[in-house]
Amino acid sequence: MSAVLRNEPPVRPEYVLPLLPAPADAAPRPYPLALRLWRSGWPRKLVLLAVLAIVWELAARWAGNDLLLPGFVQTARALGDGVVSGELPRYVGVSLWTLLQGYAAGVVGAFVLTTLAMSTRIGRDVLETLTAMLNPLPAIALLPLALLWFGLGQGSLVFVLMHSVLWPLALATYAGFRAVPETLRMAGRNYGLGPLAIVTQILVPAALPAILSGLKIGWAFAWRTLIAAELVFGTTSGKGGLGWYIYQSRNELFTDRVFAGLAAVIAIGLLFEHLVFQSVERLTIRRWGMQR
């Protein structure tokens, strides 16, 4: 430290100010529209999507092999045709309905498992062991069980979907639950909440960031599984979903339709991410200051 700093700070005169009236808190001043739009993320993401589309198109042209990798334009055309003919929306509808059932089953299962795990030691052992055992199992392992228990069709599909949602969601939720601050948990117990109420009223909201990321992962894996599983079983002719559409197009080497089907998956994924997950985040954890 330099010697100059050794100087005492100067002694300054004191002063007292009359107290100004407190200004009223203002309503938020809106930013200019353009800036607001840009900050909202939509335009930035649209630009990003456009860039991705261009990269894809260029890559496809460069590969020059449209049976293997059709370009963006070709895919968009196939997608447009599929939508106009009403074929694609129908497939999407079938898939989405199955998906939602399997997803819901998985969410309920994860909730039950993690609740048990938080309440009892044996529940905890069960959860840890079952996730470690069953999570790595591919869907084909479940096929025989599904056939025996549910027979063909919807039931088996829902079962397999549940398998793909349940474990990752249970893992994420469980990790989130266990990271909830001890003080919050103690407060909940202090107010006489029972084990179930502790879970629903303390752990779930406090672990919501982890649960939401689990839900997103589960959602994505449900799609992956659905597309794969609709090919393997559960399709009775004519009543197939998006996976069937993709499989059939692939069998007939209509690769642009395959990609159109996948583009539909992507579009639904983006829609869900923005309409559902991000809205939920904005209304909950972001609002609560639990996430930046």
Binding site: N65, L67, L68, L143, P144, L147, L148, G151, L152, L231, V232, F233, G234, T235, T236, S237, G238, Y247, Q248, R250, N251, E252, L253, F254
Partner: protein, 310 residues
């Protein structure tokens, strides 16, 4: 020249390839042609994976059903121009049912579930449609589709052998059909693909891109010659073929049972395609392919060994 990557799928229908590999026949015939051939054998599952591998240049010759050949021929016309190289022999596909009430395809009802490797698009599904078209008229070809159900062969076979599930029918492929017939006393043949097509017909074929065949005429020739010799061996000496199969695939299937299957008089080991045009025409009528082949030669490369094809 001299390099050959062959993709095959699982099953007895690829027997000729197994024999050729086991006996090193391709290398032998390459020598005869004056090119040392190095062969790489790739195992893939599913016609789609095979097609993708072929189109991406990861393999040179692909093995799959006649159906996929026609599709890829139709779709690559004017581009890669994929065509057949050889057939892998004629094998009957049986539609097996465990429902005693089902004697013919007309007896199927809502109580029945017929497993197919892929409904509407697999070759078994096409055979079923052809049978329906024959019986009820061309417009009614899709009549049985609503009893069908996608299920991979092994799972379908397990279901048929064991009973206890809704699956009581399976349009199969060797050796699953034989296993079903042997494993479940109630199982019986309802339909034979030979009957649909009016005689023995090729099930599995090999195909390649025009580019490869043009650039590697000697290798291609050696390959086909080797297959022809393998067909010869299999016809004359099924035991040897069975051993080759077991050695190459490391399959655990019982040898005696395998030999019995291979000795099935309906099996014909030959490289010339047989009775494929009927299917091609049907596919065109059903709209599955857009181009109408004038003859079977449209979708096969020329080769003396195939001359007797149809």
């Amino acid at each position: 020249e001299g390099k050959l990557r062959v993709a095959q799928q699982f099953g007895i229908t690829y027997l000729l390839l197994n024999v050729a590999q086991d006996q090193k026949l391709i290398e032998k015939h390459g020598q005869k042609q004056g090119v040392p051939v190095s062969v790489e054998w790739v195992q893939l599952s599913g016609g789609n994976a095979v097609n993708d591998a072929l189109l991406s240049g990861s393999i040179d010759v692909a093995g799959a059903g006649v159906g996929p050949l026609l599709t890829i021929w139709d779709r690559t016309a004017g581009r890669q121009n994929v065509k057949g190289v050889a057939s892998l022999g004629n094998y009957p596909y049986y539609l097996v049912s465990t429902n005693p009430d089902v004697k013919t395809i007309a007896d199927f009802s809502d109580k029945d579930r017929i497993a197919l490797p892929a409904v509407t698009v697999s070759v078994q599904a096409r055979f079923l449609q052809m049978a329906a078209a024959k019986r009820w008229g061309t417009g009614e070809y899709a009549r049985l589709d609503r009893y069908t159900q996608t299920l991979p062969h092994p799972d379908a076979a397990a279901a048929v052998v064991a009973g206890r599930t809704e699956i009581n029918g399976h349009f199969a492929t060797p050796p699953f059909q034989e296993q079903e017939l042997a494993g479940n006393p109630k199982a019986h043949i309802v339909l034979n693909s030979y009957d649909v097509l009016g005689g023995p017909s090729s099930g599995t074929v090999l195909y390649a891109t025009e580019k490869y065949v043009k650039e590697n005429p000697k290798t291609t020739r050696a390959f086909i010659d080797a297959l022809a010799e393998a067909a010869d061996i299999a016809t004359k000496n099924p035991e040897l073929a069975a051993d080759a199969y077991l050695r190459v695939t490391k399959a655990k299937i019982d040898r005696a049972f395998l030999v019995k299957i291979l000795k099935n008089p309906q099996f014909q080991y030959k490289v010339a395609p047989t009775n494929t045009y009927g299917l091609a025409q049907f596919l065109f009528q059903a709209g599955a392919i857009k181009k109408q082949p004038a003859t079977w030669r449209d979708y096969f490369f020329d080769h003396p060994a195939l001359a007797s094809g149809s």
